[in-house]
Amino acid sequence: MATADELKFQANPDATTISIDEPVEIPKNQHSHRQEPGREEDDELLGTDDSDKTELLAGQKKSAPFWTFDYYQTFFDVDTYQVLDRIKGSVFPVPGKNFVRLYIRSNPDLYGPFWICATLVFTIAVSGNLSNFFIHLGKPTYRYVPEFRKVSIAATTIYAYAWLVPLALWGFLMWRNSKVMNIVSYSFLEIVCVYGYSLFIYIPTAILWIIPQKVVRWVLVVFSLCVSGSVLVMTFWPAVRDDNRRIAVATVATVLLLHALLAVGCLAYFFDAPELDIPAPIIPAHNGTTVITKSH
């Protein structure tokens, strides 16, 4: 028969008391709150506060098998205001806010990427045609051609960029994830979504490229590259930040470089250079650079 003292609860002096108010230290990825001061401002970027909900939500969707129509309907589960919000988020990137966590929130859609790419294809083709028409307008030897072949080329380029580059990037991030445990990982569709919406800024840029001034065109290139590049950088920097420093920087630099290549390539191929507008042929061209003159 035990005495009353033995049955009484005795506090173990070795035990640590954990109060409920403190954040519990769990060695799992999504729930760790690191106390380093440099990480706190990145919590918004990571969206770790709602990562639980996003994980739960992700598990509830897409339960239909991939050969049924309902499976693909889950990728079009967006309303008009959601699409407009995502477009707004890609055109006005808020510094410090992650596009995926803020707007997509585990509901990636294929409507935006597909139709933004389609619009961009036709905008580039039509604007290029119009711009060439205005540049060559006064010349007697010029006959207008619709240049319809360029539509297929534009379509191939832009759809390949919008689907193959995310595929490559997703594969690369998955491979790095297997080596280095990252906090943030994106699904393939989320990456496609980010790339698709980040291409939206090129639509008004392509329309403004009709203006046959080289300075204006290059300013537009730089501006649109900054806007859409910042969306991409703010999305992908948290995903590679924990990796080797050089690999992280190289990844983000490659993303930006490919984006810049797309913009510059489209400008060079679809839009003829604004030509010299000189009355007399005695002005020499220095080292092949063209003289910028005011167009009529």
């Binding site: 967006v78 008009t80 036709f122 619709p146 319809f148």
Partner: protein
């Protein structure tokens, strides 16, 4: 006793029959005739025996009725109920044929070829239909194809007008005339197809469905406007 209980229980379900009680001894007999056969006018033997002219005229009348519906778009369901793809095929082929003979120099930078116009129209219509169905629309696949195809008719008329205007000359005045005509027909096409298709969409996604239709007719209008003869 049982009957009373039955009628009592039945009284709670069918209040009007509370007073009726049928003894179980009286046999119920009578005749029931169910009319066999459907009420549709075209039973098998009659459409096989009718003259070929009737068959063709019936389909032609249906196609013609749909053309009239596109010309004066009202919210009628005739276009949607009895879909057919004859009209879209005729319109697509005639539009593609009229877009031939454009400027085709050796650099092959000319206008769209027949196959390109065909593919753009049909592939574009299929993609728009899939888009509206994926967004939750209730219209069927072929009904949507039918509407989109028939609403190409104003643009085909615009192409005809453009070719006639280009016979007269290719200057600035003719370009302005062509621009106005194509612009008006583009607006007509878009409004006609939107009037038929927008009702079958969920209300908060209407703009998402209308925009691809706008883009589709814009591309066709651009092909028509930039047509330059040899």
């Amino acid at each position: 006793m049982a009957a009373a209980e039955g009628s009592g229980a039945g009284g709670s379900l069918f209040p009007g029959l509370a007073d009726v009680s049928i003894s179980q001894d009286i046999p119920v007999e009578g005749e029931i005739t169910v009319p066999v056969g459907s009420h549709s006018p075209d039973e098998d033997y009659s459409t096989l025996d009718e003259p070929v002219k009737d068959t063709i005229m019936r389909d032609l009348k249906a196609v013609g009725k749909k053309f009239v519906h596109v010309m004066y778009p009202r919210k009628s369901s005739a276009l949607l109920r009895d879909w057919d793809l004859w009209g879209p095929l005729v319109l697509c082929v005639s539009l593609a044929l009229m877009l031939q003979g454009g400027s085709a120099d050796s650099k092959d930078d000319g206008g769209p070829q027949f196959a390109e116009v065909f593919v753009i129209i049909w592939f574009g219509a299929v993609v728009i239909t899939l888009n509206s169905k994926l967004l939750g629309g209730t219209i069927s696949f072929f009904q949507s194809l039918c509407v989109l195809g028939y609403c190409v008719m104003p643009l085909t008329v615009a192409m005809l007008v453009c070719r006639l205007v280009l016979l007269a000359g290719a200057g600035t005045v003719s370009f302005i005339i062509r621009l106005i005509v194509v612009g008006a027909m583009f607006a007509w096409s878009t409004l006609a197809s939107t009037a038929f298709l927008a009702d079958s969409q969920p209300p908060n996604r209407k703009a998402l469905v209308v925009y691809p239709i706008f883009l589709f007719y814009f591309v066709i209008s651009w092909m028509i406007l930039t047509f330059t003869p040899q």
